[in-house]
């Protein structure tokens, strides 16, 4: 069973040299910490920056330089600033190579729900609907089950959707899964997790190949 950092570490392996990557808030943000040093990756933040670097040293925070999570950041050589329309031109125009975001629910056809719980205060979808509707390559980072122990990988989402048939890969604390025409395709098990454990924790259709290796990091 992985913790949040473990999920981020596994997802970091999906990041290739030369990728432009958009990281959502939460576990996805942690991915940046685990990307190999020997590859070049540019992080995009939808509020208008490409080439984000680490947080600033104390005393060097600039209120005019934040990410989409409103956190103070820095930039790396080759960075650029742009307006919101241009930022979403990048996203909608499929120029971003990899989008990593969290989810409340994912359905076996790739539907995702991550913005609204009926009856609770709705904060808004931010850029999530644009990201999931446009990106060719979406990885969801989430826990396999919710706090009540119920599966978050479903036949059909019960919450209002963020996007339809768009998720391509899911990395949870238990497994790596791909969305396939036949359902969730189990690709890898987390260390110490059995196929049986994953079957039990997955409500949606699960396709289990003959060999399901343990995750490599």
């Amino acid at each position: 069973m992985l913790d949040k950092n473990g999920i981020a570490r596994r997802i970091a392996r999906e990041v290739r040299d030369g990728y432009y990557v958009n990281l959502g808030i939460g576990i996805p943000t942690l991915v940046a910490n685990f990307v190999r040093d020997d590859i070049q990756v540019e992080f995009q933040s939808e509020n208008g920056v490409l080439g984000m670097g680490p947080f600033p040293y104390e005393g060097e925070e600039d209120p005019d330089l934040i990410n989409a999570g409103k956190q103070t950041i820095t930039t790396l050589p080759g960075a650029s600033f742009f307006d919101s329309a241009t930022s979403f031109a990048m996203i909608r125009g499929q120029h971003v190579d990899l989008t990593i975001l969290g989810a409340m629910e994912v359905a076996e056809n790739g539907d995702i729900a991550n913005w609204k719980i009926p009856g609770k205060m709705v904060k808004g979808m931010g850029g999530a609907m644009d990201l999931v509707a446009s990106a060719e390559n979406i990885i969801v980072a989430m826990m396999h089950t919710n706090k009540a122990g119920e599966s978050k990988l479903l036949n059909k989402c019960s919450l209002p959707l963020t996007g339809v048939a768009c998720v391509r890969k899911i990395v949870t604390n238990m497994a790596v899964l791909e969305v396939s025409p036949d359902g969730f395709l189990l690709r890898e098990r987390a260390p110490g997790v059995t196929v049986e454990d994953i079957k039990k924790a997955t409500e949606g259709r699960l396709v289990v190949p003959s060999d399901v290796p343990e995750m490599q990091f």
């Binding site: 600033p56 925070e61 209120p63 005019d64 330089l65 934040i66 103070t72 329309a85 205060m121």
Partner: protein
């Protein structure tokens, strides 16, 4: 300018109506302060306000809106500020009737008004919000976007297939005033933004009937490199030097040396 007159029996009395206010506005863009810049703002208007979180918000225009006490406003802005800063200041005074935003967290008063039904909220995907502003600026009445297709955001909207993918039709916003904040500006209305304080500000310039820009530094025309202007002055009607920028940081994140 619209056709206001008609031909009389004698063939006389034909007048092209011209709005003298508009002409006067165009002659001189530079105004002294927020008070002059906001002349004409009235109850019930639709306003666009630049900024992302508290970054790049038109602090002076917001303060003046509070002072004016105009109410029943519809505000198009990506976020709604925090309790005691940004658009939160207008919420505290119950000046806003409706918010059009993509994300409205971090604001208790907002939540209270929304749940009690005092405040109407229209949530729009962030890229759609930006593009609806840009469309208004560019005279594009409507466009198609994949964002929100198959979700409740698309309810009541036309959807359509292009090249095997489904899209939602979205229309340009209509607003009375746009309030933007830039880093530098000149007397011709040209604007330069700084860092991620750029965000929605350029998209809103020229997207409302009257665009008001507040800047940290106001320089004479000719002081800015024509090649490095983010928003040409034609998109800006009034410009003034803002005062006492607080530039509050929402999430101060640092690393250790």
């Amino acid at each position: 300018m619209t056709w206001k007159g008609s031909i009389s029996d004698t063939g006389d009395f034909v007048t092209w109506g011209e709005d003298p206010k508009r002409l006067a506005d165009m002659i001189r863009k530079t105004v002294a302060n927020a008070k002059e810049a906001l002349e004409g703002v009235a109850d019930g208007m639709t306003l666009m306000l630049g900024g992302f979180g508290l970054c790049g918000i038109p602090e002076n225009a917001i303060a003046e809106l509070v002072r004016l006490g105009v109410t029943d406003l519809t505000c198009i802005s990506n976020n709604a500020g925090v309790d005691d800063f940004g658009l939160g200041l207008l919420l505290q005074k119950k000046q806003i009737r409706k918010m059009i935003s993509s994300y409205v967290g971090e604001n208790d008063e907002f939540e209270r008004q929304m749940l009690s039904g005092e405040l109407e909220v229209e949530l729009t995907p962030q890229g759609t919000l930006a593009e609806k502003c840009r469309a208004a600026q560019a005279g594009i009445p409507a466009f198609y976007t994949p964002a929100g297709y198959g979700t409740e955001v698309a309810q009541g909207k036309e959807t359509r297939e292009f090249n095997g993918k489904m899209y939602v039709m979205e229309e340009a916003y209509k607003a009375d005033f746009a309030f933007v904040k830039a880093w530098k500006g000149d007397e011709a209305g040209n604007l330069v933004f700084k860092g991620t304080a750029r965000n929605f500000n350029p998209c809103m310039c020229g997207a409302a009937k009257i665009t008001v820009a507040e800047v940290e530094e106001l320089v004479p025309a000719g002081s800015l490199d024509p090649n490095q202007i983010h928003i040409p002055g034609i998109f800006v009607r009034r410009i003034f030097k803002g005062m006492r920028y607080e530039k509050r940081i929402e999430q101060r994140t640092v690393r250790q040396r």
